[in-house]
């Protein structure tokens, strides 16, 4: 099967899922106890004003019509208006999205880069102190509550040592012109090295704590996959030919050890998206995770609904991309 046909098949399977996700999100939010009108107007409200608002928001329509209106607008990127801020929900999401993307992507890069490097090192120096401490680290790392780890990092590096800022994305008074919304990139485009360093300093602790669990898993899988590969005949042949050990490990062995590692990395995206909600709360990171939690706490339903649907949508899209990458890496998948 050609790759694009696999893609189309995968995409077609997504449509019912997406519809189902939207129905569940819509119904769940509607089941939340409490009347949205009361929250918007307070309880001292005339019956006329209540009816007028109900009419304006379409809340007097039957449920399936309300759903359909919401869903079709959502597909056009219109999630309604936030009760709290009176801003369009989509705008609220889009202004915070770059912060979340920056955090999760950097965490993913840390997990992948260091995870593979540590995993390869552990396999290469099997049963040495290096190997054992890396195994110990990965055992602890998969079980650590990242929100607690984040707080302990804050205490150590921000409060006690004063090396890093406690929270936020930038220091007071630092401004970066917006091109992409990703401060690391924008500050470089604008040529502001000082701002770049400032945003790196803010990003360091949140990204490391978010990355920890995934990092530990990547170390574990890379190590065991490398151990399998390193005992293969072609590795012995390569060594016998006199190929440099570094080259044997990083090109001959690692390439073949990558398929299970790539699978684990793909599975980390869900973990990171969930973890971002926690990390953003710990570090007051202005992303969509924090937007969601605060919207839940003040019962800003349109925002909760919009963010949940948006994230689920993004998650489905990312999963398709991950599947395509697998299908590209391992053509056998396409024929299943």
């Amino acid at each position: 099967m050609a790759l694009y046909r696999y893609f189309l098949k995968r995409l077609a399977l997504t449509i019912p899922t997406l519809l189902g996700v939207s129905i569940i999100v819509f119904l769940l939010i509607h089941m939340i106890p409490g009347d949205p009108i009361d929250i918007m107007l307070g309880d001292r409200v005339t019956e006329a004003a209540r009816l007028a608002l109900e009419e304006r928001l379409g809340l007097n329509e039957p449920l399936h019509i309300q759903y359909w209106q919401w869903f079709t607008s959502a597909l056009h990127g219109d999630f309604g208006i936030s009760i709290r801020s009176n801003q369009p929900v989509m705008e609220e999401i889009l202004t915070r999205l770059p912060a979340t993307i920056e955090l999760t992507v950097v965490a993913l890069l840390i997990a992948v880069f260091f995870g593979i490097y540590f995993g390869v090192s552990a396999a290469r120096y099997r049963n040495t102190l290096i190997d054992q401490s890396l195994i110990g680290f990965s055992l602890l790392g998969v079980s650590i509550p990242i929100f607690w780890l984040g707080m302990m990092l804050i205490y150590l590096f921000a409060v006690m040592l004063g090396w890093l800022p406690v929270s936020g994305r930038l220091s007071m008074g630092v401004a970066i012109p917006t091109y992409t919304g990703l401060y690391l990139i924008d500050s470089l485009i604008a040529g502001q090295i000082g701002s770049f360093i400032d945003s790196v300093r803010h990003l360091l602790m949140p990204a490391v704590s978010l990355a920890t669990v995934s990092l530990a898993l990547v170390v574990r899988v890379t190590r065991s996959s490398m151990l399998d590969v390193l005992s293969e005949d072609y590795i012995r042949t390569a060594r016998a030919k006199g190929v440099q050990e570094r080259k044997v490990v990083y090109t001959h062995a690692l390439k073949n050890a990558m398929i299970p590692v790539a699978t684990v990395i793909g599975l980390q995206l869900a973990k990171l998206m969930g973890g971002a909600i926690l990390t953003e709360t710990v570090f007051s990171w202005p992303g969509i995770g924090r937007l969601l939690v605060s919207a839940i706490n003040v019962r800003d339903y349109p925002v909760v609904q919009g963010v949940v649907f948006f994230v689920a949508f993004a998650f489905i899209a990312i999963n398709i991309i991950v599947d395509l990458i697998y299908a590209y890496l391992d053509p056998r998948i396409r024929y299943e």
């Binding site: 189902g20 079980s143 509550p145 607690w148 707080m151 205490y155 926690l278 710990v282 939690v293 909760v304």
Partner: protein
């Protein structure tokens, strides 16, 4: 059966780390039961004249682990919290087991339209990042430990149902199922008497590996303040109440509850890993 258990136990005992984890896990269970009786103070009693008292490191013998921002005794709160976390963890296992088994058995045994509809629904649930799903369901159900249990169980039910369904597909083609049907047995009898006992092994392994994870999600909900009342001595909720006081140097409010979460999750995970290894090796031998 007894022989099989012996075999599993033998392999399990070789994994020293898993054995240690098992004993810590047992200790936690004991603590969860006796905790409320040995706790020196009421876990929710506010004492504003004793806020932010350091514990034993400051020579405090009354509040061993110090007091929090409302003067509540952290040691007593942690002891009560052990019961809450373990209760939620085991309840999540029970709910997941019952509902997941039921859905998986029905879907796998009857197949056809029932199976297609159920599996589509499960795909939809799996399309959410797990924490996001638990968070929205907890928000919908409102505050309360029982509701949090349900919200967390919904994360695992789809995966368990899938595992069960897969095993049912293999089991229902077995000759003994054929034979039973030929002898006139009804569907309920076949499912409970023949299919269920033969799909239990993967279910038990999945459920053991889930406990640590469920405790972590409970703490996460408590920390985010969704579904769990922030005043309950739940470990995650305790972390949340200490968060703002870290910059004031009051580290003990967050250090100890977090260590308990870590210890509980770690020991249940290591125990689960060891058990899975032992069961796998037994399956390979057969």
């Amino acid at each position: 059966m007894f022989n099989e258990l012996n075999q599993i136990l033998r392999v399990f005992k070789r994994n020293k780390l898993a054995v240690v984890a098992f004993f810590i896990a047992v200790l936690l269970v004991i603590l969860a039961v006796i905790g409320p009786f040995i706790a020196p103070y009421d876990p929710v009693e506010i004492n504003l004249s004793a806020r932010f008292e350091p514990g034993f490191w400051g020579g405090n013998t009354e509040n061993l682990l110090g007091t929090d921002n409302l003067g509540r005794d952290i040691f007593s709160r942690i002891l009560h919290g052990t019961g809450i976390s373990l209760k939620v963890g085991y309840a999540v296992i029970a709910i997941t087991a019952v509902v997941g088994l039921f859905i998986g058995l029905v879907s796998g045994y009857f197949g056809g339209v029932v199976d297609i509809v159920i599996m589509r629904f499960i795909d939809i649930l799996l399309a959410f990042p797990p924490l996001l799903l638990a968070l929205v369901i907890a928000a919908t159900l409102g505050t309360g430990i029982e509701k949090a249990m349900l919200a967390i169980a919904i994360i695992y039910i789809p995966s368990l149902a899938r595992i069960v369904r897969g095993s049912v597909f293999t089991v229902k083609e077995m000759p003994y199922v054929e034979a039973s049907r030929a002898m006139g047995a009804g569907n309920t009898w076949i499912i409970i008497g023949h299919v269920l006992p033969n799909v239990l092994t993967p279910v038990i392994v999945y459920l053991t590996l889930l406990l640590g994870d469920a405790i972590l999600y409970t703490a996460a909900l408590g920390f985010l303040g969704v579904g769990i009342d922030p005043t309950t001595p739940e470990w995650g909720a305790m972390l949340s109440s200490g968060k703002d006081f870290l910059i004031l140097g009051k580290w003990w409010i967050t250090l100890f509850p977090g260590m308990m979460i870590f210890l509980a999750v770690l020991s249940f995970n290591l125990f689960g890993d060891g058990l899975r290894e032992a069961v796998d090796s037994k399956l390979r031998m057969n």
